[in-house]
Amino acid sequence: MNDTHHHHHHGHAHGHDHSELSEIELRVRALESILVEKGYVDPAAVDALVETYETKVGPRNGAKVVAKAWADPAFRDRLLRDATAAIASLGFSGRQGEHMVAVENTPQEHNMVVCTLCSCYPWPVLGLPPVWYKSAPYRSRAVIDPRGVLAEFGVALPAATRIRVWDSTAEVRYLVVPMRPEGTEGWSEEELAALVTRDSMIGVGLPLRPGEARP
């Protein structure tokens, strides 16, 4: 176990030392060899699955959804009423997005999404979750100390803003629709989408403002 002196960093693969990485690498390799040899798994299917999530699905999908909701009031209404259908109409659907709900930030209420029990996340619109989303610090604190978590992301909301945390305990997946930044009147959906960060769609960040460089 982790007895390195004063080494209290846990739960991140990149925090592990080399010998442990080798251990898990060997374990995964062994598993793949067995599963392929037994014919349960087509290694080309594994390649295709990995390639899909590494290159084809990601938060630009969600940004298009949000930008359209900002630009098109009828789409926004459909999105808030039936997010699964509205998102599918843009071509995003399927695994880990079968039952979508979109929740809209307002000056009165800020939404934030977590999965305290595992790592539920809306893959078709956001891609795979980042390490921190799946790790104990976020999962443990989002429901009890969301302002403390937001502060670690550099977000300070007005004290009067209510914070609404959605714990994804079922197969429903939540997409936060952040508030449209000021100064974007008349912008195209493409221009708007460039302001929509992944963090803003989880609720741990705010969209970029006009002129603000993507971090």
């Binding site: 846990h10 739960g11 693969a13 990149h14 990485l21 898990i24 995964v28 390799r29 062994a30 598993l31 793949e32 060899s33 067995i34 599963l35 037994k38 014919g39 349960y40 798994v41 087509d42 080309a44 299917a45 594994v46 390649d47 699955l49 990995v50 999530y53 590494e54 659907s93 695994r95 079968e98 039952h99 305290t116 029990l117 891609g127 795979l128 980042p130 390490v131 921190w132 790790s135 104990a136 610090p137 999962r139 443990s140 604190r141 989002a142 429901v143 009890i144 302002r147 978590v149 670690e152 209510r162 914070i163 609404r164 945390v165 959605w166 714990d167 305990t169 079922a170 197969e171 429903v172």
Partner: protein, 219 residues
């Protein structure tokens, strides 16, 4: 089960640490762990609730000291052993030593886009009308089952309000045990921070969970 996965409200893990670059994968084994987990899920030998139950049954010290792809890998090992698809000797040897067991499906590369697009919807036809409607006050059950459940500890025995009615969904507590889907109405239940965490809670906080009907009683 009250295992290492039930993290809501726990303390002592330190700050959230986003990575500057946030790569999708940190090493090739993470790619393979993802792909193998999804490909084996496609064989139909288990459902998503059994997968979660397998991960949750890791010793809590192991769960909490493992990265998520490590948890997936260890969970996948448990599942293939439980289902008799792989033996412990094979895991040690790193090679097949026994004939394969028949599985319902083997996912082929060309079927990947269609399989991912289809997903695995959890909604089912409802056998009875919903017991609760939006606005109803409910109380979550006090329960500590040894098996899988999706009612987190922090939200047990708490009063909340039904906010959304989602339809009838596969009941994980049953499906994880291999006891059938037994669909139940699923609700979003909203709680005040004070109800969950006491008088010192952030007064601006509300938290919701998605809760199956049998987790709830009228309040």
């Amino acid at each position: 089960m009250n295992g290492g996965q039930d993290l809501g409200g726990m303390m002592g893990f330190g700050p959230v640490q986003p990575e500057p670059d946030e790569p999708w994968f940190h090493a090739d084994w993470e790619r393979r762990a993802l792909g193998l987990t999804l490909a084996m899920g496609a064989t139909g030998q288990w459902n998503i609730d059994m997968s979660r139950a397998a991960r949750e049954s890791l010793h809590p010290a192991e769960y909490l000291s493992s990265s998520y792809y490590e948890i997936w890998t260890k969970g996948l090992e448990k599942l293939v052993l439980q289902q008799g698809l792989v033996t412990t000797d094979e895991l040690k040897a790193g090679h097949a030593l026994t004939p394969p067991k028949p599985v319902a499906r083997v996912l082929k590369a060309e079927s990947v886009p269609a399989a991912l697009a289809k997903g695995s919807p959890a909604e089912r036809p409802a056998a009875a009308p919903a017991r609760f409607a939006a606005g109803d006050r409910v109380m979550t059950r006090v329960m500590h089952p040894a098996g899988h459940t999706r009612l987190p500890r922090y939200a047990r025995g708490k009063r909340g309000t039904i906010e959304r009615v989602h339809g009838a969904h596969v009941f994980p507590d049953s499906a994880a045990a291999g006891a059938g889907e037994r669909p139940q109405w699923l609700y979003t239940v909203r709680f005040s921070g004070a109800e969950l965490w006491g008088a010192d809670a952030d007064p601006s906080l509300a938290v919701s969970i998605d809760a199956w009907e049998s987790y709830l009683e009228p309040a």
